[in-house]
């Protein structure tokens, strides 16, 4: 992490909305830049910020942009409640408070010289996008890249143009599926695990990174292991209620782990005994 002036981790830094892009009916991508003209916070793929909407509330949102772009922070947010609605209704120029970045990142380095399998479900593609950027910007360091993406329906697909562009890179495979096809969809229909059989990579030399609803990650991780990917090479992004993001409020505990500082990225071999515990 770059050396920055000691900032109180509880105080939001003022950022301004630079751009709002509507991805789907309820999902928007916000680009924020620091209000005082300094560089944006550096982040590792997989980390998140706490975004504060004046007088409304604060939310943990994964950073979804390019780590190499130092003048901005990008977030893809799904509007599901009051706070997220407040966030996605921001207009260009509005102030948004940013705390962070927090948490552990995806172990992208682990995949150097190996095949990388990125499995995203729904909005889970947002926290994985920085990984994809990282690999594609440094293509020669990594083996094959396989991106498997499942969404509810074709209308819920994020980053469609980028998905097509990613597929054109060498040794890069992009497979997309939906749970409900609708009328004009001619692609895969079925859960994301049904795409595994088409992935062209060697499980024994693969690192997998999965993000999506917890049930989805459970099914995915289990199937990956059956396919021959080692448990220590499967990574998940976990989520729990979060209030402070710095390990003081106690809300994000998952077993002995604080999702905000021990995670959100965890290896499957650490998560497996916890995932099967109901109401942990």
């Amino acid at each position: 992490m770059a050396a920055v002036a000691k900032i109180d981790p509880m105080l939001p830094q003022p950022y301004s909305v630079r751009e709002v892009v509507k991805e789907t009916a309820d999902t928007f991508t916000l680009t924020l830049e620091p209000s005082n003209g300094t560089g944006a916070d550096r982040f590792q793929p997989g980390q998140f910020s706490m975004l504060w909407v004046f007088g409304v509330g604060e939310l943990p949102i994964s950073i979804s942009g390019q780590p190499a772009q130092h003048d901005r922070l990008v977030y893809t947010v799904r509007s599901v409640g009051q706070a997220t609605h407040g966030l996605v209704s921001r207009e260009v120029g509005d102030g948004v408070g940013v705390r962070g970045p927090f948490g552990t990142g995806w172990p992208v380095d682990l995949a150097q010289g190996r095949d990388m399998l990125v499995i995203a479900g729904g909005i889970g593609l947002a926290p994985l996008r920085p990984v994809i950027y990282e690999v594609l910007h440094n293509r020669e360091k990594y083996g094959r890249l396989v991106i498997l993406y499942g969404a509810r329906s074709p209308r819920d697909l994020l980053y469609r143009k980028e998905l097509a562009a990613w597929a054109r890179h060498r040794d890069t495979q992009v497979l997309v599926t939906v749970d409900y096809g609708g009328l004009s969809w001619r692609g895969h229909v079925g859960v994301v695990t049904t795409l595994f059989k088409y992935a062209r990579l060697q499980p024994a030399r693969s690192v997998a990174m999965a993000c999506g609803p917890e049930i989805m990650m459970r099914f995915v991780a289990r199937d990956l292991e059956t396919q021959g990917v080692a448990r220590e090479n499967i990574y998940l992004s976990m989520e729990r209620n979060m209030k402070c993001a710095v390990g003081f409020c106690g809300h994000c505990q998952y077993g002995p782990h604080f999702i905000c500082k021990d995670g959100p990225i965890f290896s499957y071999d650490r998560m497996r005994p916890l995932l099967e515990k109901y109401e942990l």
């Binding site: 799904r78 479900g121 509810r152 009328l183 895969h188 859960v191 695990t193 059989k197 609803p213 099914f219």
Partner: protein
Amino acid sequence: METLERIIAEHPFFAGLESHFPNLLTGCASNARFDENTYIFKEGEEANEFYLIRAGRVAVEIFAPQRKPIIVSTLGEGEILGWSWLLPPYQRKFHARAIEPVRAIALDGKCLRMKCEQNHDLGYEMLKRFAQILEERLEATRFQLLDVYAVR
């Protein structure tokens, strides 16, 4: 040109079969092609074949009144389409439509059933493999039912 026997023997579905079995199956096999947007079979029809898909994508559909048919899953290269030939009443439960041009090996159901009755070892091998497929499809279907991406 690949013989049907070799295609069957090398198909992942039949991996591990004793070497004389593919020959038995070849007698029930034929090449099949379907144009884009044609129905391979429809619900209610007699289930006479199952297919090893070699290329293209097939949509498994259910139709309901006042709605266009709903695609519940798609199957592609390397996958098996159709199992209703295996169990009575040998009737198709869904539509299957080629949504891309499809090439497949069709295996005649009646022919296969007869051979399985005569040779229970072959029957057992077939059932083991279909049980595996059914289990995978059931798990995937249950997962799909959960509608995990919906907002609660």
